[in-house]
C-alpha cells in the first residue's frame, strides 16, 4: 500500500530506542503473511502491509512486558491494545503504536472456497478492488470486497484509535457497509433445539489444541487456564463433545466485556469451527445492556468489574 514507505521510515527513526517492532512480513506462499519481528535496521525492508496482514499482533504484548516494543496495528488491533491497557496488562510507556488507514483484510477460507484449492499459489497481486491469484492450473481475479473478512464489512474503527505514529491519511468517514452481527442474526434463525445439534456437530472435530485461546490477545492466564486445571476440575481431558462445548462457553464468558471481536479465535482454528459466534452473542448482549464496547476508551472500566445500585436495563423477574 502507498504509505508502506512512510511507515518503514517511521520505524527506522524510532527503532534504535526500542527492543523490537512487530509488523507483518512475507510468508511461505504469496497468499499468506506472517508476523515479522524487526530487531535490526535490515529487518525493516521485509515489512509488508497489505490485505494479507490479518494477524492481531497485540497477542504478543503481554508476554513482552518489560521490553520496549513497537507494534503496527490495524484499527481492530488497536482495540485489543486499548483493552490490554484498560486491564493494566501492558504499560503505555513501553508500547509504541504505529497506525495506518486499514481498508480491510482477507478471509483465507473465502479465498479457498473461491479458488477451490490454495495449495499451489504462484502469485497474488492486489489492487484496490481486486485480488488476482495465480495458481498452477488457473488464474482468478476475485473482487476484493467479497474476499474481505466479515468483520471488515461492519468495521467502525479502521484507523488505530490510539497511536504514537500514524502514517497515511485517516479514513474520513468510516461508515460501515454492513450492520453489526449479521452472522449472529443468521445463526439465530435456527430454532433452539437446532442450535444444540449445530454446536454438537461443529465441535465434534475440535482437537482441543487451544489455538483459539492462544491467538486471543486477552487470554493471558497461560499456565493457570481453567481449561487445563485439575483443581478446580472444569473440564475432563476426555475426548468428549460436552467438554469441547463447555470450553467454548468458558472462553466466551471469561472474555465477557473484554473481547474486541478481532476474530483471531475463529481464524486460528485449524478445523474451521465458527467459534466467534459465541463471543459475538456475548458482546451484543453486553452492548444492549450496558451500552459498552471493549477496547475503545483506555480509561473505561469494563462493565463486569463494576456495578450500579440501580441498573437501567436489568429488570427483576416477576413470579
Amino acid at each position: 500500500m502507498k504509505f508502506q514507505e512512510e511507515l518503514k521510515n517511521s520505524i527506522r527513526k524510532v527503532l534504535p530506542e526500542l527492543d523490537m517492532v512487530i509488523g507483518w512480513g512475507k510468508s511461505f506462499d504469496p497468499l499468506h503473511a506472517t508476523p515479522h519481528f524487526i530487531r535490526r535496521q535490515e529487518d525493516i525492508d521485509e515489512l509488508v502491509i497489505s490485505p494479507l496482514s490479518v494477524h492481531n499482533l497485540a497477542t504478543y504484548l503481554p508476554g513482552l512486558r518489560g521490553k520496549k516494543v513497537g507494534i503496527v496495528v490495524k484499527g481492530c488491533d488497536s482495540r485489543s491494545v486499548i483493552e490490554l491497557l484498560q486491564e493494566n496488562l501492558i504499560d503505555r510507556k513501553n508500547v509504541t503504536i504505529f497506525g495506518f488507514p486499514c481498508t480491510g483484510v482477507v478471509d483465507q477460507t473465502k479465498i479457498k472456497k473461491a479458488m477451490g484449492h490454495t495449495g499451489n499459489i504462484e502469485s497474488c497481486d492486489m489492487s484496490d478492488t481486486a485480488i488476482v491469484i495465480k495458481s498452477k492450473d488457473k488464474t482468478r481475479s476475485l473482487p476484493l470486497s467479497e474476499m474481505l473478512a466479515d468483520k471488515c464489512h461492519s468495521c467502525r474503527y479502521p484507523d488505530a484509535i490510539i497511536s504514537d505514529h500514524f502514517v497515511g491519511d485517516r479514513i474520513a468517514d468510516p461508515a460501515p457497509a454492513a450492520a453489526d452481527y449479521q452472522a449472529l442474526a443468521a445463526f439465530e434463525k435456527l430454532s433452539v433445539s437446532e442450535r444444540f445439534g449445530y454446536w454438537l456437530k461443529e465441535l465434534d472435530r475440535c482437537t482441543r489444541c487451544y489455538a483459539c485461546r492462544n491467538a486471543c490477545p486477552l487470554c493471558v492466564c497461560r499456565d493457570h487456564c481453567a481449561a487445563e486445571s485439575r483443581d478446580p476440575h472444569w473440564l475432563s481431558q476426555e475426548n468428549n463433545v460436552r467438554d469441547k462445548l463447555m470450553f467454548q462457553v468458558i472462553h466466551a464468558y471469561h472474555l465477557a466485556g473484554r473481547c474486541t471481536e478481532c476474530g483471531e479465535c475463529q481464524r486460528a482454528c485449524p478445523v474451521d469451527i465458527p467459534v466467534l459466534l459465541f463471543k459475538q452473542k456475548m458482546n451484543k448482549e453486553i452492548r444492549d445492556i450496558f451500552h459498552y464496547e471493549a477496547g475503545v476508551d483506555p480509561e473505561a472500566t469494563p462493565p463486569l468489574l463494576s456495578f450500579k445500585m440501580k441498573e437501567e436495563n436489568i429488570t427483576e423477574k416477576v413470579w
Binding site: 433445539s193 449445530y198 472444569w234 462493565p303 463486569l304 436489568i314 423477574k317
Partner: protein, 154 residues
C-alpha cells in the same frame, strides 16, 4: 437421591447462605410444601456464583437451574449480589445461543423471612421447567451419539 422417574425433573438451585437459604428454611419451618424437583446447593453469597456453574449444571444433566440471593442493597457482604446481578443477567441472555431455552434458568432475590414467597418461586419455576420438559442432553462423547437419537426422535 435419585430422581423419581417420570414425575420429577432435575432442577439445581444455588442459594445464598444468608437470605435465600434462610428463606427456604423459613418455608420449611412453616410447612409450606413445594415440589421436590429442586435440589439446593448452598453458597456463601450469590456473588460467589460463577455463571459457568449454570452452564455446567445444564450440560451435565440438569433440566433447570435456579439461583437465589439477597435483595439488591441487602447483601450480607454488601456488594456481592450487585456483581451477581450483572453476571447472571448476561448469562440469562447468552444461554439461548447454546441451544437451551432461556426459561430453563432464572435468578431471583428472596430474603430470609420470605418463606411463602420462596414456596411460590419454587412452585412457579418447577412448573415452568415441567412445561418445557427435559432439557436437551448430551448422550455420549461423540456428537453422533446424541445427534442420531435426536434425528430419530424428530
Amino acid at each position: 437421591m435419585p430422581v423419581l422417574e417420570g414425575k420429577e425433573l432435575r432442577i439445581v438451585g444455588f442459594l445464598c447462605n444468608w437470605c435465600s437459604y434462610g428463606g427456604a428454611d423459613t418455608a420449611g419451618v412453616g410447612r409450606f410444601s413445594q415440589p421436590t424437583d429442586l435440589r439446593i446447593i448452598r453458597v456463601p453469597c450469590s456473588g460467589r456464583i460463577d455463571p459457568l456453574f449454570i452452564v455446567k449444571a445444564l450440560m451435565n444433566g440438569a433440566d433447570g437451574v435456579l439461583v437465589s440471593g439477597c435483595h439488591p442493597r441487602d447483601c450480607h457482604y454488601s456488594e456481592g449480589n450487585f456483581y451477581a446481578r450483572r453476571r447472571l443477567e448476561i448469562m440469562q441472555r447468552f444461554l439461548p445461543v447454546l441451544g437451551y431455552e432461556p426459561e430453563r434458568f432464572a435468578y431471583t432475590w428472596v430474603s430470609a423471612s420470605e418463606g411463602q414467597r420462596w414456596q411460590e418461586v419454587v412452585k412457579s419455576f418447577t412448573d415452568q421447567i415441567h412445561k418445557l420438559g427435559p432439557a436437551p442432553k448430551i448422550l455420549g462423547p461423540q456428537a453422533s451419539d446424541t445427534l442420531s437419537l435426536m434425528a430419530a426422535a424428530l
